[in-house]
């Protein structure tokens, strides 16, 4: 089984976000970057599927600047066979990113292309499905349970108030949600091995796109709240405020 995983380098989920001097992007100084958490589910799933198949190849793709090489190495340390960096500063337009990935993946002969359901930086939730559309492949997004047998995919995805069960044939694109698996940590042996694994760098140039960033600003501060009181004595006053001031009961 030949499996591609698309991986994005993102700020750590606990990083303090400061708007940069351009007013459109973040100030990266002092920010720790990590592989996108949802993409780690994709990496783990690829490794599990290859192990279960007993043969095959896993390849990780990342579109980003040279700094993304470190992110790719993390996936290689987890066990992915080789990596490809599509060298580009990226785009606010997910379709431009999808076009570059699709062009690279089109002739790769993959049985399965895995993404995280979204990246936790821009929360776009779109590139996986777009790549599938561009390649004319079946796609199931935000998958929290996956079974692959005899070339057929069965997947569960969480929807509001239920679970949607769908199926498709391979080759396919799947985007991964939390709950799919528990990503392994790179072992020391894996980290050493990753240094010797192939990592190809390919410059790509993205189109201008139809989505552009106008500005990035901090979220509005919530106006300071108040402690209504301590213990159960405060409950009647809280309920009164919720009814007469906040008007939510």
């Amino acid at each position: 089984m030949k499996i591609a995983v698309c991986l994005k380098r993102v700020p750590d989920t606990t990083a303090k976000i400061v708007v940069g001097g351009d007013g459109k992007s973040i100030d990266e100084s002092g920010v720790k970057f990590v592989p996108n958490p949802y993409d780690e589910y994709a990496v783990e799933e690829a490794l599990k599927l290859k192990e279960a198949a007993g043969a095959g190849e896993t390849v990780v793709y990342s579109l980003g600047t040279d700094a993304s090489q470190e992110t790719i190495r993390t996936a290689l340390a987890m066990g992915v066979d080789r990596g490809v960096l599509l060298q580009s500063p990226g785009s606010a337009d997910g379709l431009e990113v999808a076009r570059a990935l699709a062009a690279e993946l089109r002739d790769g002969g993959f049985d399965l292309i895995l993404f995280g359901k979204m990246a936790v930086d821009d929360s776009n939730h779109q590139v996986g499905a777009m790549v599938a559309e561009l390649l004319g492949l079946p796609c199931i997004t935000a998958v929290s349970h996956l079974t692959i047998a005899d070339g057929a995919v069965e997947a569960d995805r969480e929807i509001e108030g239920g679970v949607e069960v769908s199926g498709c044939a391979l080759p396919a694109v799947i985007t991964c949600d939390k709950g799919l698996n528990t990503p392994r940590l790179p072992s020391l042996k894996g980290i050493m091995a990753a240094k010797k694994k192939p990592l190809e760098v390919k410059p790509v140039s993205l189109g201008g796109g139809s989505v552009t960033v106008v500005s990035l600003v901090p979220p509005p501060e919530r106006k300071a709240g108040r402690i209504v009181g301590e213990g159960i004595e405060a409950v009647p006053e809280l309920v009164r405020l919720l009814r007469s001031e906040a008007k939510v009961i």
């Binding site: 379709l95 492949l137 949607e164 069960v165 939390k178 139809s210 552009t212």
Partner: protein, 323 residues
């Protein structure tokens, strides 16, 4: 004439509430751009509530009906929207499980970008700009959409549905031929029917302060007292296996914007705040007066949740029974 298309959603042959929010957004765009708004209803046979969409601002209601469209068909729905999409100045989706899957597919088919999970929008110089939370709510991004059509999805509960009397003239929309690559077989309902945290008007969430998974019954009881509340959970208790991850509010869970969010025994880690800070009113109950949750809470009670929560449930029940 500039026209805006609203993509409604149905489940079990009945329009979902978020459809009114999507249509309201489309109506506002149409009014700002001096145009008309169409609502698209995709389903199998008659869809309950489709005839009332004029009351939420639809000049026309396009009805695409086909066997198999009762459940979501990623390829069929995408083909249907794409078949008329190029005629519109903008297409508005809901940022729901379905809309998040469908919007990028349509965008790719029409060769334009899209802006997902939008919480506000404006029309400036005939162009649409949108505001959306990024970095899990730690920043707001404004995007200019120059695609024709502009494609956006709006976050549920952020655009208040507005009544607006229009003709809502029903027009049958033929479904184009398409290749069904993915088949949705069924929707499995949870063992206990539960409101989803992203859609409920009130969300009551519990965290590690509950000490034991059994104690979530306190949270469930408080949610029941509000009547229309969903039960949420912090990452800590989801990771500990107390609750399904579908209930998780936060950066790697769901982002919610209910009218009222009650955080019980949740300290307020940055990644939890990311998921609920856009709630209209936040209440926190925590024994630690220095817990970060109190920095975002409109109303806080410092105290033992095992005493406060049952009393709160009782008081809310009393008040609601009085009307």
């Amino acid at each position: 004439m500039t026209t805006i298309l609203a993509i409604t959603e149905q489940r079990g042959g009945v329009l979902r509430k978020v459809s009114h929010e999507v249509l309201t957004a489309a109506r506002r765009l149409a009014d700002a751009m001096g145009g008309t708004a169409d609502a698209l209803v995709i389903g199998e046979g008659p869809v309950g509530g489709a005839d009332l969409l004029g009351g939420y601002g639809a000049d026309r209601v396009l009805v695409a009906s086909q066997a198999g469209f009762g459940l979501y068909s990623p390829d069929g729905y995408a083909a249907t929207v794409a078949s008329v999409g190029a005629q519109y100045a903008a297409i508005v989706f809901a940022a729901t499980a379905t809309g998040r899957d469908l919007a990028p597919r349509v965008a790719a088919r029409l060769g334009v970008g899209c802006a997902t999970d939008v919480t506000d929008f404006a029309v400036e110089g005939g162009k649409i700009t949108v505001t959306r939370p990024v970095y899990a709510g730690r920043a707001l991004q404004r995007l200019a959409l120059s695609g024709a059509p502009a494609i956006l999805s709006v976050r549920p509960n952020t655009i208040a549905a507005l009544k607006s009397t229009r003709a809502g003239e029903a027009v049958a929309l033929p479904v184009p031929a398409f290749i069904a690559r993915v088949t949705v077989r069924e929707i499995k309902a949870p063992a206990v029917a539960a409101l989803d945290v992203t859609e409920a008007a009130v969300v009551v969430s519990g965290g590690r302060g509950l000490k034991e998974p059994e104690n979530f019954r306190l949270i469930e009881d408080l949610a029941a007292a509000f009547g229309n509340a969903a039960v949420g959970a912090s990452r800590a208790v989801v990771d500990a296996g107390w609750r399904d991850h579908g209930a998780q509010v936060g950066q790697t869970g769901k982002t919610v914007s209910p009218g009222l969010y009650v955080a019980v025994g949740i300290s307020g880690a940055i990644q939890h705040l990311a998921g609920m800070r856009t709630s209209k009113v936040i209440v926190a109950v925590n024994r630690d007066k220095d817990a970060p949750i109190f920095k975002v809470a409109d109303y806080g009670i410092v105290g033992d949740l095992f005493e406060v929560v049952p009393r709160l449930a009782a008081e809310v029940r009393k008040l609601r029974s009085e009307g």
